[in-house]
Amino acid sequence: MFLQHLVDGILSGAIIALGAIGLSFTMKILRFANFSHSELLTWGAYFAVVFFAMAGVFGNPFAAPIAPFSFGWPLLVALVFSAVSTSVLALVLHRLVYRRLSRTAGHMTMVFASFGVALLLRNFVLLIFGADPIYYSTALQFAIRLPGGIRVMPDQVFLLGLTVVIVIALHLFMTRSRTGISMRAVSENPDLARVSGVNTDTIIAWVWVIGASGAAIAGVLYGLTVQLRPELGFALILPLFAAAILGGTGSLYGAVIGGLVVGISENLSVMVIPSTYKPAVPFLLILAVLYFRPEGLFGERNT
């Protein structure tokens, strides 16, 4: 059982990690705790529903699956569509709400605003798509049996693989491209970055695009393994915050490892506490980290 929980934890941790990267960057670079970030996962998942509804153009991804997965190549297009749409949504929100507030008010005002934005985003999904759960595909999938009695779905293997690819791509972006390096510079010392010629507005736009894309992809991947509900993202607020805080805000690998720790702890917790209390696990992790190591496990303390 332990191994199965561990594997399940890694799989859900991968989704949390993808969602937490953006949250971690916003907390560090935009300097506010964005309670509306997890709603971007919901929107990402539902943007894919919209895409599948228009799927006549590309073909139904679940009609001609690439074995052993439950879906065909149009899912990859759906991921891109969802990432782009969610990025546009995030940039619009930034433009309408957060950018204005960052100039006229303190960052706690931005936290309040993110409460309001979260409420709006979640309830618009409810109004547009209804409260009933939606499935991308109702087709049954057969699990792969691994040694040790572990069972995983082929789609989950895809999810893990895609997460690894995205993290590597982000790593290269952050260390090789001028924009990525500037992003790390702004994260450490915005004023020095500005006097060095970095346009912080451009960097902030990049933060939203990366964060929203990661959230959208996480949302679609989550939708592959569970049903879609308007509360999908809301239920992930604490796991995402736990991952970002655990890893130390602003750190790519911190968010990834934080996500894995949260996913694994949640899944292993059912061995010691009733599974109904599982949603409290990320909260306990947050408390423990903030109490013992407020800069996170991998946070870089500026010197």
């Binding site: 008010a105 303190g106 960052h107 909260f283």
Partner: protein, 325 residues
Amino acid sequence: MIGVLSYLIFFLILALTLGVAVLGLNLQWGFTGLFNAGVAGFLAVGGYAMAMLTGPSRAAVFGGFELPFVVGLLGAMIASGLAAIVIGLLTIRLRHEYLAVATFGIAVTIQLVCVNWEPVTGGTLGLIGIPNPTKAMVEGSLAQNAIYLAIVLIVTAIAYTGLQRLVQGPWGRTLKAIREDETAAASLGKNPVRIRLEAFVLGCMLMGLSGALYVGFIGYVSPFDFLPIVTFQIWTMLIVGGSANNRGALLGALIVWGVWTMSGFFIARVVPPEWQAQSGAIQAVLIGLILVIVLLFRPRGLIGEEIHVSRHARSAPADARPEAP
């Protein structure tokens, strides 16, 4: 006419009950700068304490001591105060946004406990049959509600005047000093952590009181009365009214609760039946819009802080301000 009057009384009872929680939040955020995103959790603690202390005894559920209403109110305050001390000791030193995340997590956890700790909370069914003290006094729901409104008014008035005295006295001045500049306040021999903790606990006790008044009025308690949306509502009330102003807190409670109930009323009339399931979503969208619009266009609320320059109102937050040369 009687219909309007009874509805008005009903409305005022709930608006002022929530207003007591807004006063508590105002003490925490408005006067002390503590970001409590777990308001619903402390309302729940108070509400359940009320139910346990004053409710009828049951075989399957612990509690049901059938104690008097006033004992229920005091017990609710003590219970939420104790919860606040434990939580406060763990979180009070945290930076603002971490405190927000941690307290948000507390509300989620309290909600989970309410749903799952069946021997004490009654689980998803909640606890029913909490006696409303006015039922024993007079006949007729209008008169009963009128008396309950009087009780709520008295409690609100006590909370309001008590808070006014506190924040205008030396303790309140210290609070504001800490909010504006913690290091400077500490150098004057004040213990900021202790004073912030005091404000946090007192604020949470008012939230517990509010939860108890609510449960005492509607006569039952269930975990679904304390969903996170309640936290958002109470925050919106404070922001709309204007933080660091107790009159603003109460005004905000009346206005936002008015918008909430009127929009619910309107939606029930106008929206086609097949959309009724989504009516809550429309109300939530309204609350979200109000919150964002007020923050963007009237960040100090309808009546903001008097006299003092508030950190929340001015252009740069204290912790984001570069050091002076």
